[in-house]
Symmetry: C3
Subunit: 266 residues, 3 copies
């Protein structure tokens, strides 16, 4: 059961507890991700060195693994972090950025999904289709499919790998293989800003840190993203100013905003 | 022949076709570059791993190689990408950030220019002078020369390496060794924002993706940069807010803006 | 003696001389750091390759070493840069981001402090306590202590390692082991924006470049940070818009702003 009340409860919890979220993420979005987490109320930390990722996971309440600008040493660190997260019961969220675009990305993402046991897999439709082995055209890191096209693949991945799958799109889909939650918030400017998908992943991790019912956590995160996007779009004159109003909205979002705006459907 | 009409035609083409532009660029500007390309209408992707750059060039319509925060493994990946681009006929643009400041940068940039066959070399005057072997003082990554000082060097490099050379400055110069195009758009706030030179390079690649007449493509790119800078400066209270209005301007630039503002001279 | 007059004198000097500041810093804040230095009036350059850091230090007037996203090859480059800075008498500033959070960070920061001879050590209270070997809980890269809690540790580190220690907090502390300067400027939004601590470090380096009395330089930097934060907060609707107004404020700060706002106490 996910609604404005459960979302507000967990958003409030993040702001009270400021959970430490450890991010192994791509260069493009590190700054935006850190700011999104800070504005939400969480405590971000970025660390990628093999020498320290296990220590950092050891004090974190959630982990993000995002392959947006991966290379071999980073993949090694991702594995160390993921193993430690599994041992400690720290939930982690996988963002398979660009899966389908190159073999290196598809293979790395697939192995992390299969052997790494993420709590949530969060990607766009093209990435989810690629991970399911569905022949899929991709365009770099952008989706060329609607979220609904990826629903059967998302369900199958969720069942096979015992995780929640969260697919962003005009209407976001979140599924644990059985239930499907749809989130209809958002704005058409969002795909014009780099790193909002990556921010969605980090925010999913923050919600997972305070609520281990991951289907709920993933849906709450997409709701917050979409609502902040709408609040930002009301002020923005383009994708540049949108970015900053989006961060402001994460910071300012109140109970009334959530009650009035959330459009979620189970 | 370059004018408001040709520029608008190609800008429109970018927005229609959203060409995938593969960037191997520096850490400082990855976010800004991705956002500039998205606002322009192109599809950016960043990828630097030796394991995947060839695959990524394989689906891209243009490549950016920017040495702003280079190191040995990245240089290796640049070579792989550049070779693949040459094989596939994908135009690529070289930004020799900081050439002249250290031997490592000068040597790397010079070899990429000499052996890598870029379609366009885009830098500031100090960088172009350094690549031409003209004894040149530099100040890190900033130019200490006006663009016009670098015209003879730019012409010589263009002729020797069969590429277009684009030199940013108060008045930008673009040359193929014979013709020289001058673009007089821009604003004095622009050098106060990091990464606008790198954005110019990425935008040059986007224009080169849709128009293989690279002299035109390079001139169109500098025109768009300068006009967006003017549109941003009208609203900005300093270099901070300028950045966002600049991105908004790239997104909003219409045919009338181009007709009214473009100051280009062949 | 530090006051509005000395601060304005040195800020003016930075704007006149535009000293080149070489940064080996973390991925999260590279863009913000470069922009903060440009808005202040300095010339930033980022370079981390072992092949070039010595050359870059060779033309720089100050060096920043920030361990926010360190790994082994970067640490090797930090040492090269630091040794060269020592030989040339170039002041350098150490930011021990996240010291205390992992052994790798604590050890690396401690060795850089002990053997590298920074002019200024600039961190938050938790980091300073960790470096002093005081048992200290940390929360990733955020401080869980007030600056005043770290005063004895800061004094001890300053005396032992013959450097200035600058501790950010609601009231910033700067000490050379004897004198203590307190800066009371700032705003409560500042901890909600990623990288402002790192910006403080870079700005400290810029002031150190033009004034080798490092106690003064460090205090001037914290004053400028805090005043720019206040100026930004007057306009900002949240941490997103704050960032840009902060950069604008660095760029626009005039003598009258300094005279009216600076709250510094020796």
């Amino acid at each position: 059961m996910v609604n404005a009340e459960t979302l507000w409860r967990d958003l409030h919890k993040i702001r009270q507890e400021a959970p430490l979220v450890h991010n192994i993420t791509n260069y493009v979005v590190m700054n935006t991700t850190a700011n999104a987490l800070l504005c939400l109320g969480a405590s971000p930390v970025m660390a990628h060195a093999a020498e320290e990722v296990e220590d950092m996971v050891g004090i974190a309440r959630a982990l993000v693994v995002n392959i947006g600008t991966l290379d071999a040493p980073w993949v090694e660190s991702m594995w160390r972090a993921v193993r430690r997260a599994y041992e400690r019961g720290v939930p982690w969220v996988l963002d398979p950025v660009g899966a389908g675009a190159t073999r290196f990305r598809t293979t790395t993402a697939f192995r992390l999904l299969k052997e790494g046991r993420p709590a949530v897999l969060r990607g766009n439709a093209s990435e989810i289709l690629a991970l399911c082995g569905v022949a899929s055209a991709t365009k770099g890191v952008e989706s060329v499919h609607g979220a609904e096209d990826a629903l059967p693949a998302a369900r199958e991945l969720a069942r096979t790998y015992h995780c929640v799958v969260s697919v962003s799109g005009e209407i976001d889909l979140v599924t644990d293989g059985e239930a499907v939650i749809r989130v209809a918030n958002g704005d058409s400017l969002m795909p014009r800003v780099t790193g909002l998908g990556c921010a969605a992943t980090a925010i999913t991790a923050a919600f997972a840190a305070v609520n281990h019912a991951f289907l709920e956590a993933a849906a709450h995160a997409m709701g917050v993203m979409g609502m902040a996007g709408e609040m930002a779009a009301e002020k923005a004159a383009g994708p540049g100013t949108f970015q900053l109003y989006f961060l402001d909205a994460l910071y300012r979002m109140g109970e009334m905003d959530v009650n009035e705006r959330l459009r979620i459907e189970e």
